[in-house]
Symmetry: C2
DNA sequence: TTGCGTGCAAAGGTTTTGCATGGCA
DNA sequence: TGCCATGCAAAACCTTTGCACGCAA
């Protein structure tokens, strides 16, 4: 099960795109198109395989967003300990908000104690609308 | 955009299956196979179209569960006011738990006040493992 | 040099669409 | 009777796999 052993040009290109746009999520198609547009094309198969690797190692999160028909991927920083807190995701702009606050940590304890359910933060995403998009919507 | 105008044999068959098994979620394939097995076969296309309708009108919820490669659908009772509370879904057995408790209602208020984010309960599902599956896992 | 990574082509699987037929109101 | 619903077949997608070649270590 050895993975991500080699450092290649393609991998650094893909990772850079995701890192530089960590506030957004992308479908495989969008990644391929963006890289092509940037003059650094990478094969679709490679994108699938590498992004899937990143997803397994936790550097990237996989979502199924409301409107889109295929999976989307979004970068999360390693040092953020994302397995330990919940996440909010804006369905309008794609922004990912890390909920590392004491109150929300208590929520998991509440669910575990009162509802006998062990929450998996890696798989859970709370969907809704962020502040900025709410303001824009009011116009 | 008129929808679900006619009451047909196929529609009542599909709806009955989902209602009678509201504690479980099914892929399209599973629905088609079950109906066939029950001696009441319905065309795959019809299942896709009707279930998608139900999903839009809120009678059915659509999930992408961890292990499965395609979408799953699960019935939710109309009178449950599911837009007003959060849901837990067990990734092991598929059970859906309705979180209609005061504490959890307060969670949405907390997120709205302190994180400036409006939660959409219709789209949000908290994933994890339920009591029964935890016990089975300990064996 | 060794063995993993890449990417084309093809396969596999899921979902959607076109269209003739069937059935509800 | 007038539409909408159904379901077959085909198309359109999305994702995975096989394999020969390329490249990092």
């Amino acid at each position: 099960m050895s993975e991500n052993i080699y450092k290649t040009k393609q991998r650094s290109i893909i990772l850079k795109l995701l890192e530089d746009n960590s506030e957004n999520s992308f479908t495989i198609d969008e990644i391929v198109a963006l890289l092509k547009k940037n003059g650094e094309p990478v094969g679709r198969t490679t994108v699938y395989r590498y992004v899937e690797n990143l997803s397994k190692s936790g550097e990237v999160r996989r979502f199924y967003e409301g409107g889109r028909s295929s999976a989307t991927y979004q970068y999360v920083k390693k040092e953020n300990h994302c397995a330990e807190h919940m996440h909010l995701k804006c369905t309008e702009c794609g922004k990912l908000i890390h909920l590392g606050c004491d109150f929300m940590n208590g929520v998991c304890s509440h669910i575990e104690e009162h509802h006998k359910f062990l929450v998996n933060n890696s798989k859970t995403t709370i969907l809704g609308i962020c502040e900025d998009c709410l303001k824009n919507g009011e116009k």
